[in-house]
Amino acid sequence: MSKYYLFQDTKKCIGCHTCTIQCKSHKNLPVGPRISQIIAVGPKFVGGLPRASYVFMPCFHCEDPWCVAACPTGAMQKRAKDGIVFIDFDLCVGCKACITSCPWGAPQWNPETGKAVKCDYCMDRVDQGLKPACVTVCTTHCLDFGKVEDTTRIRRERHAQAVAALDQNA
């Protein structure tokens, strides 16, 4: 994994897709590729009520990325200093091996350039000390970006609260 973590608080997310739009705009993508996208699961009935969940899926920046292994030209790379998986467009020839190999569908096809494109956590912004484009516009502030150890805290705290509440009721 990269040393960063892009945390999505699914409890807060309303599926407005602003992140997806901002991502496309920042990467200047044509119709087709949505490299960070919200996948709607449901709606299904939970306790008589319709419930939907929205899962934000950019790239997981895997520890051992299959796409990097699959790429025959060395365009798909894992950045040594922080583990971000990105594409060097000068090397990409558009064979789509990364797209085929990724089990999550992270690399996608850009028909305009004839090359693959994927989430790189907005490397250019991160290097300037900024957050990825998607994170900056999230309407409900459900997205957060940072070091792995910091961003998991919310989930841990909420879980603790839930457990504690159960305790009081007992």
Binding site: I39, V41, V55, T73, K96, T100, S101, P103, G105
Partner: protein, 721 residues
């Protein structure tokens, strides 16, 4: 003068760089710049119209609206400058759909078209012939050459010498395909004249009814001018008729194609010699506004050896051929020596044989490989029994009382001369011998007979005694007087004369309409952008250029019947399928490089692309090795390499040559296409070290994303109840 880099490409690159570098900060400026870029790209891709250049200029004005925006002002000034200085190049791109430098990749013209002196759009008409659309092919050809049938039989076919297919096996038989289409269209009655433009009320006089003069006449009358052609001989054709013997070009073919011109209203005045029966002053008095001289080169060079002058047994080939063409079939002698190594020499020799000469020898001072004559012509002459005396230099006509004994000659050896490509035949001292003959025919070249031109003052002549013209416009030193054909080039080819005539017609039109003349030579026009013929790789490789069926030898020795009998129809259609469509694929080699160096697959064996990596071309190898990844197609700048899914197959093709077909696998959930098994195997092999062992379901990326999103939600800690 062709520019080294294309000004259109240069402007596109420069503007794109300005935009990409973010120099235009104002969103309005950036939007205008992007619109201009789109228009420029239209020009570079051959889809622009007449209004593109004015539109670019007015958008550039809009861009220069805000003086505070320095970057926009600078860009606007650059664009104005680029368009103004290279207007001709921009207009040429729009009009011809060809970029002479090949920088605008979509418009890189095919080598055959670029080589043709008349700029025929060969890939387009060859493909049309392959489709069986002969009449349309003739229409395409006649936009650049009014005599497809004549050219289909006698053209020297420079196109075939440039044909890229020759790097694989043999060139496409372009000439005969054209001849076939013309013959078929003529016989079906679908060989038609195009519409004439409305009458312009101006008249042009053409002097000489040869291929150059008649081509100019054809294009002028189509443009709406009145045209009169004056010709000193009793019939039209010029050298086509008088120089080329009937066994190569039957008279009916010339007559039928000339009749197309008469049909359009071209007025022919035969037996009218310029300067004698019709003077410049007479013609001016009749109201002719421009003159076009295509008087040819009908005067033979003298051998310049003792005994030649005033000897009735020494004939000039060109006069001899003219005499025979006009119907005189007297046998010149029993034993004939023809001097020369060009097509005229061969024609004279073969004509002698057909008239009944017993022994015909062709004496040439260099060797066989140096002969300027067509190889086929030489071979056919040899088959018919013409003897060749190579490395033979005539030094004297050996006379006896009243007749001649023959030709006294010296043997020669070829020596390399400093600064010359062609070897020089050096006489060997003491090697003198007699070549017995009762008639000697000299065919060592012709020059322009300028005796009729004394009246035309102020005309510049070259050192070679040809008319001096501007080769881009065929203008002479005298306003309103134009010239082309052999009179300008010296003895040359039919197709050069046709090209010259066509160019002259265009500039006569400009002259009479008061439009300035172009300063650059014309770029050949792409007459269509038609789709390719689809051919399986094995067919593309195994089809062979058909042999030309010839008349039997006995008849070839005794009659003037046409020697080359023409291809049967199926051979013509098949031959067209060998064409590599170099008007679409410009052989940049990107596909090969990516497949070999980047992907490591090396499935593309296109040796004909590349002289640095000479592999043997074989389109069939691709199907054995190709994984159908599509990187070649994704990187092809012209769309020649195409990968598409058809039904349950993925098909890779290059200009219609089917290189690979692979069955497609589909997503287990939604049925979306995953790719061919060979491709998936390629990816699986590469990811073997990091990916878990197989067993994973074959899912498309959308379905696998959904599947993993579901796993994520399902595995979340239970929400508060």
């Amino acid at each position: 003068m062709p520019a080294k880099t294309c000004s259109v490409t240069r402007t596109v690159t420069e503007l794109k760089h300005t935009i990409d570098a973010g120099r235009l900060q104002n969103p309005r400026s950036r939007r205008i710049a992007e619109e201009i870029l789109q228009l420029l790209n239209d020009i570079a891709w051959g889809r622009a119209g007449d209004r593109h250049i004015p539109a670019i200029a007015s958008l550039a004005d809009e861009l220069a609206y805000d003086e505070a925006d320095a970057a926009a002002m600078e860009t606007a000034a650059y664009l104005h400058d680029a368009v103004d200085h290279n207007r001709e190049v921009f207009v040429s791109h729009i009009k011809t759909h060809n970029c002479s430098t090949g920088d605008c990749v979509k418009l890189a013209p095919a080598p055959c078209q670029m080589t043709c002196p008349a700029g025929l759009d060969i890939p387009t008409y060859v493909t049309l012939i392959g489709m069986g659309r002969d009449a349309e092919a003739i229409d395409v050809i006649r936009r650049d050459c009014p005599f497809p049938w004549v050219c289909g039989l006698v053209c020297t076919r420079p196109c075939e010498f440039m044909c890229v297919r020759a790097r694989i096996d043999t060139p496409i038989s372009i000439k005969f395909l054209k001849g076939f289409a013309a013959e078929r269209a003529m016989s079906e009655g679908s060989y038609r004249n195009p519409e004439k433009a409305p009458d312009k009320g101006q008249k042009v006089c053409v002097i000489g009814a040869g291929p150059g003069g008649m081509s100019a006449a054809y294009y002028l009358i189509l443009k709406g001018y009145g045209v009169r052609v004056i010709e000193q001989h009793p019939t039209a054709g010029g050298m086509l008729l008088l120089g080329i013997p009937r066994y190569r070009l039957p008279r009916e073919i010339i007559d039928r194609e000339v009749a197309m011109l008469t049909d359009l209203g071209v007025e022919f005045r035969f037996n009218t010699r310029f300067g004698q029966d019709a003077t410049l002053a007479d013609l001016k008095g009749e109201g002719f506004d421009a003159f076009f001289f295509a008087i040819g080169a009908h005067q033979a060079f003298k051998l310049g050896i003792p005994g030649e002058e005033g000897c009735p047994q020494v004939l000039e080939a060109i006069a001899f051929l003219r005499r025979v063409a006009l119907g005189d079939r007297t046998v010149p002698g029993k034993t004939v020596v023809v001097i020369g190594g060009g097509n005229v020499a061969i024609d004279a020799a073969r004509t002698c044989l057909r008239l009944g000469c017993r022994e015909v020898t062709l004496a040439y001072r260099r060797a066989r490989t140096e002969m300027p004559a067509d190889r086929e012509e030489v071979e056919q002459a040899e088959e018919e029994g013409i003897r060749f005396a190579f490395l033979t230099i005539p030094i004297e006509v050996a006379k006896n009382n009243g007749g001649i004994d023959g030709l006294r000659c010296l043997r020669a050896e070829l020596v390399k001369m400093e600064g010359q490509d062609r070897k020089y035949p050096k006489p060997i001292e003491g090697s003198e011998f007699l070549l017995a003959a009762d008639v000697v025919i000299s065919a060592i070249g012709q020059k322009v007979d300028n005796t009729c031109m004394t009246e035309v003052n102020g005309l510049d002549w070259t050192r070679r005694n040809t008319i001096q013209v501007n080769t881009a416009t065929m203008e002479t030193s005298r306003a309103g007087v134009f010239a082309a054909g052999d009179a300008v080039t010296g003895p040359a080819t039919v197709i050069e004369a046709i090209g010259g005539g066509k160019r002259a017609a265009e500039s006569i039109d400009r002259y009479l309409s008061g439009i300035p003349q172009p300063s650059m030579p014309r770029v050949p026009v792409r007459r269509g952008r038609i789709d390719w013929l689809e051919v399986p790789a094995s067919t593309k490789m195994t089809l062979k250029r058909p042999d030309m069926p010839l008349l039997n030898l006995d008849r070839r020795r005794t009659t003037f019947q046409q020697v080359e009998l023409g291809y049967p129809e199926n051979a013509v259609r098949e031959e067209a399928r060998r064409c590599l469509r170099c008007d679409i694929c410009l052989r940049c080699g990107k596909c090969v490089e990516i497949c070999r160096d980047k992907m490591g697959v090396n499935a593309l064996q296109m040796g004909y692309f590349d002289f640095d990596h000479p592999v043997k071309t074989d389109f069939r190898i691709t199907a054995e090795r190709c994984i159908a990844c599509g990187a070649c197609a994704a990187n092809c700048p012209t769309g020649a390499m195409r990968m598409e899914d058809r039904g349950h197959e993925r098909v890779l093709s290059l200009c219609g040559t089917i290189l690979n077909r692979q069955k497609l696998l589909t997503c287990e959930d939604c049925g979306a296409v995953l790719g061919p098994a060979r491709y998936i195997e390629f990816v699986r092999k590469r990811t073997k070290t990091v990916a878990r062992a197989a067993g994973a379901r074959a899912l498309c990326d959308a379905c696998s994303r959904h599947a993993s999103a579901k796993i994520t939600t399902d595995n979340l800690p239970s929400q508060s109840k």
